[in-house]
Amino acid sequence: MAEYKVQFEVFEGPLDLLLYLIKKEEVDIYQVNLTKLATQFIEYIDLMRQFDLEIAGEFLVMASTLMYIKSRELLPVDQQVAAEGEEEGEDPRWELIRQLVEYKKFKDAAAQLQTLEARQENIFPRLPGKLEFESAAPPPKPDVSIFDLLNAVNVVLRRFEKRDDSREIFEDKWTVSEKIEFILKAIAERGRVLFVELFESAASRSEVVCTFLALLELIRLKQLVCAQDEEFGEIEIRRVENAAPTVGTPAPAAPELPREGGSDPAHPGAPPEPVLHQTVQPGEAPESPRQS
């Protein structure tokens, strides 16, 4: 048997393979002969099987769609039974072509992104180098989930579990709105507060709950964000940079402006491009004002 030279391209999926087959035919997607395509597609799957390649389920689904289209063709129109659930007049061929065209456009868009990616590698920003060491400490990981917060508050509440046997019953004197002011004040004074610090002075379970609700409310109002430097680290609370001032908040003092814009103690501005990519973390940018 003659020696075969097999050039086997890797396809992202059935649509990719179909596009490849169409390209090989050198025809317009709209003009493509789906019956012929079905045959070629199945030949390809056979080839994959011969090479013991694992065939993803999606290829088989596509193969069956193509077979369906092909088999429908064999029946004259008046004898065709509309598949259940299929809208009348919906042509599976049209649906497939629509999908192919859409996929093709995004594939082209991806190619353009790739060009941009390569181009961007050759673009150097004008940046003084000194930021390199400033950002040695990784910026705090944003996005503390509600579950992290609940875990943290449970730890705080455990403090009160121990002395459950005998206690005084007194009127709850805490309100959420008071606690909102308390938190905003603490943040305004210190810039950032640790989660546990908020509860240091709490004397009762209900006070802890009030403070916690106040915190959740402020997060909901997008006044505060929580961040965690590392997994299981301390949760840190700070203001959202461009939060609309709430009523009753001490108005941000004038000197806050340059500080906010210039550099932030723990996160000295958005790092320059190279550094930024060095410490890529999911959602790294949110703190950077550029996002706004």
Partner: protein, 232 residues
Amino acid sequence: MELKFILESLLFSAQKPLSIKELREVFAAAAAAEDADATADSLAKIKDSELTTALEQLAREHESAARSYRLACVAGAWQFVSQPEYAPWLKALVGQKIRPPRLSQPALETLAIIAYRQPITRAEVEQIRGVNVDAVMQTIMERGLVEAVGRAEVVGRPPTYGTTALFLEYFGLRGLDDLPAADELRKIVVQKPPAPVTVEPGLATAPPEQLALGNEEGGKAGTSEQPATGSP
């Protein structure tokens, strides 16, 4: 003193790209300084649109001067960057940029779909790509290029995804409108072809008399079958 030159000096010495908001704050702070002069005062409450106009004009001037650098706006922040053709020497000077490995083809395709169609659910992305995207989504989310942005108001309320500011930075885009062919791809309208071709021309898959049943007024039997379900 012209506004654009003040901006130029700011961006020239800035340690990082500056957004309009940051620039506005600089102007406010400069006016608040004790020794602020009349010019600084007059620019204290400068509008965003004025800043943008001046920056764009400045960028155009730099562009037409055809220097080795230009003023670029990436993810809404302005900075001076070198032109790509000078990369060989810059690489020698500062070393290769530390960038994560280039994105794979599936990752780029998935990113493109999310970028143009955000907010979009995972199922919708899979619908377009025709394959499972779990692993790819994981990769691009880990790289911070994509994030969950909300939930779709459909059964199960699946999360929807969108691109991040890092995505814009990574590709050097000013904003989402800066994406290539943005208006076209946001909403692809695919023209329905008059009659998709299924049967190979000249190779009838059914006896011609049967084909004629669905295609009485049609042309040559065997070459121009009508769509199976007889679309309107």
